[in-house]
């Protein structure tokens, strides 16, 4: 194989799977890691050091809820000291002003706060907890401490109609950036796909609203809109290529080329407790599995778009076709596109005959 492997730019560190919220759209795996399986502080510090040595410049501290790790300040400090840009990806619960001021002092660069809906009634129903009002307070705390704020909303059938109100809310919260990202169907989200799948009418209604807001807010609040890929003609350029820019470390130390990659059961997953991070990045079978283009099948192999989207998402290909090397079935050129169309038709039919199913809420917090 003739691929130059560049050093990674970013690391998503999933410090824990524990979380006070129960979002049915959560991309965390259905099998959540237990507390006793989490890496220790010393192990996370080693991971951060190894990542920086390897070339990582952006460290996203996420989860689960990263604020549940009492060693968060230490981890922020080390990553920042080493020259990384440290981003906290959080539900915001438990982020007091003194706690955030301390993290900022230790070098935290940015906060990404998730919001589930535009008002407390809707948002709390989706989160499965009384959380919305506290998130609004958290945003004020971020402003008070003076850190840049991105608000992240995962869009789906149960909140898609609120796009306009969500944009207003983000503006009121003082966000510098708003990510409106349609649900990616992994983990809990896959389990809840029927209830989460937006309707074509919802997507069509949101489009002009978002477009107008992008224009209106240009220069004040940047809006990133991620469309629902099941409805698209071409897949997303997943991770900008497998093992190309980013790596994910799961709570137990598993190292994955993308946060969802644990669904690919044919992948030989490595762990930082057993192999050095640098070796995993450059030499492991899992990271090399879909690097470059040699692994591609028809139609990707000769497609004029392969440098744009890298054949789409490997996890989605595996989940929907059973073959991780297949063309992402979302692609209109994929021989398996009928699978996706079949899912869309099937979900719509289920909803038409039996109504929208109840959410299967993300399981109670794992504490074992």
């Amino acid at each position: 194989m003739d691929v130059t492997v560049e050093p990674p730019l970013g690391m998503l560190a999933e410090l824990t799977h524990r979380c006070p919220l129960h979002c049915p759209y959560c991309s965390n795996p259905v099998e959540l890691a237990a507390k006793r399986d989490e890496l220790t502080t010393a192990q996370w510090l080693e991971v951060i050091e190894a990542a920086r040595d390897l070339g990582v410049l952006q460290v996203h501290l996420s989860g689960g809820e990263p604020l549940l790790r009492p060693d968060l300040p230490e981890l922020v400090a080390r990553a920042s000291e080493l020259g990384c840009y440290v981003n906290l990806v959080t539900s915001g619960l438990g982020l007091t002003e003194s706690r955030l001021a301390d993290l900022a002092e230790r070098g935290l660069a940015h906060v990404q706060l998730s919001v589930q809906g535009a008002d407390a009634a809707r948002a709390d129903r989706i989160a499965g907890a009384k959380a919305h009002a506290r998130k609004v307070d958290t945003a004020a705390v971020v402003r008070a401490v003076g850190l840049p704020l991105s608000v992240n909303v995962v869009l789906h059938r149960a909140n898609h109609d609120q796009v306009e109100e969500l944009i207003d809310l983000a503006e009121r919260m003082g966000a510098d950036r708003l990510e409106l990202a349609n649900t990616q169907y992994y983990g809990w989200a896959l389990r809840n796909r029927t209830a989460l799948m937006p309707t074509p009418e919802q997507l069509a209604a949101a489009e002009p609203v978002v477009r107008a807001a992008i224009e209106r807010l240009r220069g004040r609040m940047e809006i990133v809109y991620v469309v629902a890929d099941y409805y698209e003609r071409y897949p997303k350029p997943c991770m900008y290529g497998w093992g190309a820019r980013q790596l994910t470390v799961a709570p137990n130390g598993d190292v994955l080329p993308c946060p969802a990659a644990s669904v690919i059961t044919t992948l030989d997953v490595e762990n930082v407790k057993r192999r050095p991070l640098g070796e995993i990045w450059y030499e492991s079978a899992s990271f090399n599995a879909f690097r470059g283009e040699d692994w591609m099948r028809d139609p990707c192999r000769t497609c004029d778009r392969r440098a744009l989207d890298f054949g789409g998402c490997r996890c989605q290909a595996f989940m929907l076709t059973g073959d991780a090397s297949a063309t992402d079935p979302v692609c209109s050129r994929s021989p398996d596109r009928s699978v996706v169309d079949g899912i869309l038709a099937g979900e719509a039919e289920t909803v038409a005959s039996a109504g929208v199913p109840d959410f299967v809420m993300r399981a109670p917090t794992v504490t074992r």
Partner: protein
């Protein structure tokens, strides 16, 4: 509105792994060339474009105000630089 500075949340550092300056911000990483890095290092909200050009002129030959303004305009578009 004449003194450029890095936006909040944007950091310019030197990466010894890649042996180059890097610009870090929420959306990603940019690798500025040597000239751009020199311009950005002077973007602390206290220098006007003309002063930046003068100070760079003392280090590099043939630095023109238009070039500095051009670099800054590109970084403004990419939400790296703002004006105070």
């Amino acid at each position: 509105m004449v003194k450029p500075r890095l936006r909040t949340g944007v950091r310019l550092t030197f990466d010894r792994v890649r042996d180059t300056h890097v610009l870090l911000f929420p959306e990603g990483v940019l690798v500025p060339n040597a000239t751009a890095a020199a311009v950005l290092e002077l973007c602390d909200g206290s220098n006007e474009v003309g002063e930046i050009a003068d100070r760079l002129g003392a280090r590099f030959r043939g630095v023109r105000v238009e070039d500095v303004a051009g670099v800054l305009a590109r970084f403004e578009d990419r939400r790296v630089v703002e004006w105070t």
